[in-house]
């Protein structure tokens, strides 16, 4: 039904003259309003940032947004893909890559006749700033399963996420044929990017679910060092993450390697695990500090492990076989027992905190938009999560959504696009447009 704005001037006279009269009154009003120069900062002035021109590159052997330092705002958007034929899938990949290239680079959208809807939503102004945006494209298991010609090329370890012990999955927040991880300095930049993509690919994909998240911003430290941001449980998150600037380490943990048994086209790609994990924050805030720390396995103010001073100190479990220092069932000890065998289970976490609203019981719907990357989904996320099954932290968390995806390698240059190696592997001839 109609919204209130559509109330109609029903007389013929009103129809003929209504708009004209209103229009000229407005024009007259503008002149006087504009002549008043306001002094000082006004309540509705835009907040100022010197980071809007920060830019990440879309091109390279790997997609951006994986080893890229996590900015303040992130989002996962999951889609149902309509494209079925090789030609349509190529059009999907190419259009998507074209939009991502523009959005990450920033620039001026084309100007159209004002009788047409504008090419851009305009929510970031007439010139789109890069604002540190990355958009990472990943493919779900169903993307391959539902296309006979692609099924043989599915990455070996890509599966549809199954519920783990503590999960209460909501079907409307799970899986998807294609996922976009969108991250940038501000939620507005992410939303702008999402709306641009929705507008430009309406016949090829339909949005199924999305989850936005954030990371608390810290002031720069005088000595130039960095500290991990905190999650909604108030603990630093990321302290023990493998060093993303260590390329050989990333080759080992994150990227599908040359010598791997995965299909050739997947080399340089990675597996993405997404989990929407609700935190029962009220209950957590009513839990004694000592217990909180024992559950995580780290001190809350500093993020240091037991016996350490800073978050980057490394616990030595070999000297603590009975858990006298770090409890055996502490989150960090189960997640990474730091044994020879558990070395093959390392993952790169890149999560965001989310806050959605209020539950029917009047509690905050908050939690962690957990995202991690690994070269082997089974040895990575799945193995770690299985070890965590039954952990004491479960009393305070409930996974409700997410999915498993494969993130193809990056586009090499402007003539390339995300997904090309897959199409070529499947025997679809792809023309390189320019070089």
């Amino acid at each position: 039904m109609a919204t209130d704005e559509t109330k109609l001037i029903t007389t013929r006279r009103g129809l003929l003259f209504g708009a004209g009269v209103a229009g000229s009154a407005l024009a007259a009003g503008l002149t006087s309003a504009h002549s008043v120069q306001k002094q000082g900062e006004q309540v509705a002035d835009a907040p100022v940032s010197d980071k809007t021109q920060e830019r990440q590159s879309f091109y390279g052997p790997h997609q951006a947004g994986i080893v890229t330092p996590r900015p303040a705002a992130g989002m996962i958007a999951s889609f149902h893909v309509l494209a079925q034929t090789p030609d349509d899938v190529e059009r999907l990949f190419r259009t998507l890559s074209g939009r991502i290239a523009f959005l990450m680079q920033g620039g001026t959208p084309p100007e159209l006749d004002d009788k047409l809807p504008p090419a851009d939503s305009g929510l970031l102004g007439p010139v789109v700033p890069p604002d540190n945006l990355t958009i990472t494209v990943s493919l779900g298991s169903s993307f391959f399963d539902q296309r006979d010609w692609l099924a043989p090329y599915k990455p070996l370890r890509l599966s549809r996420m199954k519920a783990f012990r503590n999960d209460a999955l909501d079907a409307d927040l799970c899986h998807g044929d294609l996922a976009l991880q969108i991250s940038s300095n501000t939620p507005d930049t992410n939303i702008h990017a999402l709306r641009d993509i929705l507008k430009n690919l309406p016949d090829l994909m339909v949005l199924r679910w999305k989850q936005e998240g954030s990371v608390p911003v810290l002031p720069p430290k005088p000595d130039g060092t960095h500290e991990s941001a905190r999650n909604f449980l108030g603990f630093r998150d990321g302290s023990a993450n493998p060093d993303a600037t260590d390329a050989p380490l990333m080759d080992k943990i994150v990227w599908v390697a040359e010598e791997s048994d995965e299909p050739d086209w997947a080399r340089g790609g990675t597996y993405q695990a997404v989990r929407i994990i609700r935190n029962f924050v009220e209950r957590w805030d009513r839990t004694p500090l000592g217990e909180q720390e024992r559950i995580i396995g780290r001190k809350k103010p500093t993020g240091a492990p037991y016996g350490g001073h800073t978050e980057h100190d490394v616990p030595d479990y070999s000297k603590d076989p009975d858990g006298a220092i770090t409890p055996l069932d502490a989150h960090i000890r189960l997640a990474n027992p730091r044994t020879k065998q558990s070395d093959s289970n390392l993952i790169l976490r890149r999560p965001f905190n989310y806050s959605n609203g209020v539950s029917k019981s009047g509690q905050l719907e908050q939690g962690l938009l957990f995202i991690c990357y690994q070269a082997d989904l089974e040895k990575g996320f799945i193995a770690v999560q299985k070890r965590l099954d039954g952990e004491p932290l479960e009393e305070y968390i409930k996974p409700i959504g997410g999915g498993f995806f494969f993130t193809p390698p990056g586009p090499r240059d402007e003539a390339d696009f995300v997904g090309r190696t897959l199409l070529e592997a499947a025997g679809h001839a792809v023309t390189r447009l320019k070089s």
Binding site: T6, L8, L15, L116, P202, V206
Partner: protein, 275 residues
């Protein structure tokens, strides 16, 4: 209805003063006179059917014939849904004829909640015609009044042409979810009527756009065909399957077609030089 009245009323609406110079296609304001006149006929025909169908439907409700009332619900709405952009021009009547429970603060219990969906709630959720007679009377009166008002109305060309996209926006925003006919699940009937109504407008102005932008015309018709093909899978003898029968895949096909039609048809006004 009287053809002559409709035609002359429409001719009145489309004067050179009202339509600015064409922007995209080389369309003169007078080119729109024919299509708008034809559309007025289409609207009047639908209103005539609406009045007749609503009479039969509300009579069944008042006679306490639950099964008959239920069976007439889906089809009765179709002529309203087909011309929704025009019916909606009268927001008071659109509110009392077609508002949904969540448009009202107290939802189903709200005294302001009247019209098709209030009766639908009684018939399908409460499975009874009890206490529905006043709502039936009001619906009949509102539909009669709507018919009268539209007969006297000069159709604004930009509303007519914009209506093609507006119908798709309706479907995209609230119908894909199945929340429109949430008690009866007859949403596919609404879908069909919304698409037909949108396509009618598109077909009427199609010759004006075709010569300058045949790719656009081919793309839009292709998407309408896709919708028809998908809906045809759910056709039954009496009408359409209930909405819960729609598979997730087909729902996605419809959603994508609707979104694409909404994007494309949003340019139709501009292409015809209308503001």
């Amino acid at each position: 209805m009287k053809l002559t009245t409709a035609l002359s009323a429409s001719l009145f609406a489309v004067t050179a003063a009202m339509i600015p110079r064409a922007a995209m296609a080389d369309v003169s304001p007078l080119d729109l006179v024919g299509p708008i006149a034809d559309y007025k006929i289409y609207v009047s025909e639908n209103l005539e059917v609406l009045v007749t169908d609503t009479k039969a439907f509300t009579d069944a409700v008042k006679a306490g014939d639950l099964e008959k009332a239920k069976s007439l619900f889906g089809s009765t709405r179709m002529s309203y849904e087909a011309i929704e952009p025009i019916a909606e021009l009268f927001s008071d009547l659109d509110g009392s004829i077609d508002s949904r429970a969540d448009d009202h603060e107290k939802a189903e219990k709200d005294p302001e909640f009247t019209g098709f969906h209030r009766i639908e709630y009684g018939l399908f959720a409460e499975n009874s015609t009890k206490d529905l007679a006043p709502f039936a009377d009001k619906l009949m009166a509102d539909v009669t009044e709507l018919n009268k008002r539209i007969t006297d109305l000069t159709l604004p060309p930009e509303k007519v042409v914009g209506g093609a996209a507006a119908l798709m926006e309706e479907v995209a925003a609230t119908k894909i979810s199945g929340e429109e006919d949430r008690y009866s699940h007859t949403d596919l009937w609404d879908f069909k009527a919304n698409f037909d109504g949108s396509r009618k407008i598109f077909e009427l102005v199609r010759p004006l756009v075709e010569k300058d932008d045949s790719a656009f015309v081919i793309k839009v018709s292709g998407n309408f065909d896709k919708v028809d093909k998908t809906l045809a899978k759910y056709k039954t003898e009496q009408g359409y399957e209930l909405y819960d029968k729609l598979t997730d895949d087909d729902r996605a096909v419809l959603a994508a077609a609707v979104n694409t039609l909404a994007e494309d048809l949003s340019t139709l006004r501009g292409k015809l030089g209308l503001n």
